[in-house]
């Protein structure tokens, strides 16, 4: 198991290679990428920042929980911080296991826990030049509930 905050581009193929082995019949890869639109507003880029020491340890706790809960899969998680462009990978989770259920369940567990608990924040840059911190707890005007 390995988890990390990184400032360089995430190499998904390298993560897959890191977890895959002949003993694994299933490998799962989740990629979070920067979208060009948020609630109808054109987005030009995203800036990720973190409480780095806590984010690193919380990410490691989540990885360890997933390994313990889902029958010890091979698992790697990387979250990127810094300035990202549209389509850039912000988070990657690669999980390999003998069977698909553990690989898929562990992947889902990590991304959901990460979104709830890891102290990382992002500020969207919009086409009109404005910037805003994303707050998932506050529904935006006009957003579907």
């Amino acid at each position: 198991m390995r988890t990390a905050l990184v400032t360089r581009p995430i190499n998904a193929s390298a993560l897959l290679a890191e977890v895959t082995s002949p003993a694994c019949g299933a490998t799962s890869l989740f990629l979070g990428t920067v979208r060009d639109m948020h609630d109808g507003r054109p987005v030009t880029g995203m800036e990720y920042t973190a409480y780095e020491a806590m984010a690193a340890s919380e990410l490691e706790r989540i990885g360890a929980e997933a390994v313990a809960r889902f029958d010890s899969p091979a698992l790697v998680v990387e979250h990127r911080i810094g300035a990202l462009g549209i389509g850039d990978v912000s988070v990657a989770i690669a999980v390999a296991h003998a069977h698909r259920a553990a690989a898929l369940d562990a992947t889902r567990y990590v991304i959901e826990a990460l979104k709830q608990r890891v102290p990382i924040w992002k500020r969207e840059h919009y086409a009109d030049g404005t910037r805003e911190w994303v707050d998932p707890t506050r529904p935006r005007a006009g957003a579907a509930s």
Partner: protein, 80 residues
């Protein structure tokens, strides 16, 4: 006791600083700390139940703060 409080993202922006320092009574809890921060002008940015981390773990409201603790106010997280 003087307790530095780390601020991030929208909170750092609202307070215009990466940290603030408060003087708290010995035995003060996370709730006491939040009451003090909310009383500040920039405290208006905080939600009703802000997240607080003590020594890099999420804290509960009644948790006591000790001298030397690393305390941080955590804005709503938005990773992924």
């Amino acid at each position: 006791m003087n307790i530095p409080i780390l601020l991030f993202a929208s909170y750092a922006e609202a307070f215009g600083a990466a940290s603030i320092e408060l003087t708290l009574e010995p035995g003060a809890t996370v709730t006491d700390l939040l009451d003090r921060v909310k009383a500040m002008a920039a405290g208006a940015v905080l939600p009703p139940a802000p997240l607080v981390a003590v020594n890099q773990c999420f804290a509960i409201p009644g948790q006591r703060i000790e001298p030397g603790d690393e305390v941080a106010l955590i804005p709503p997280v938005a990773g992924g």
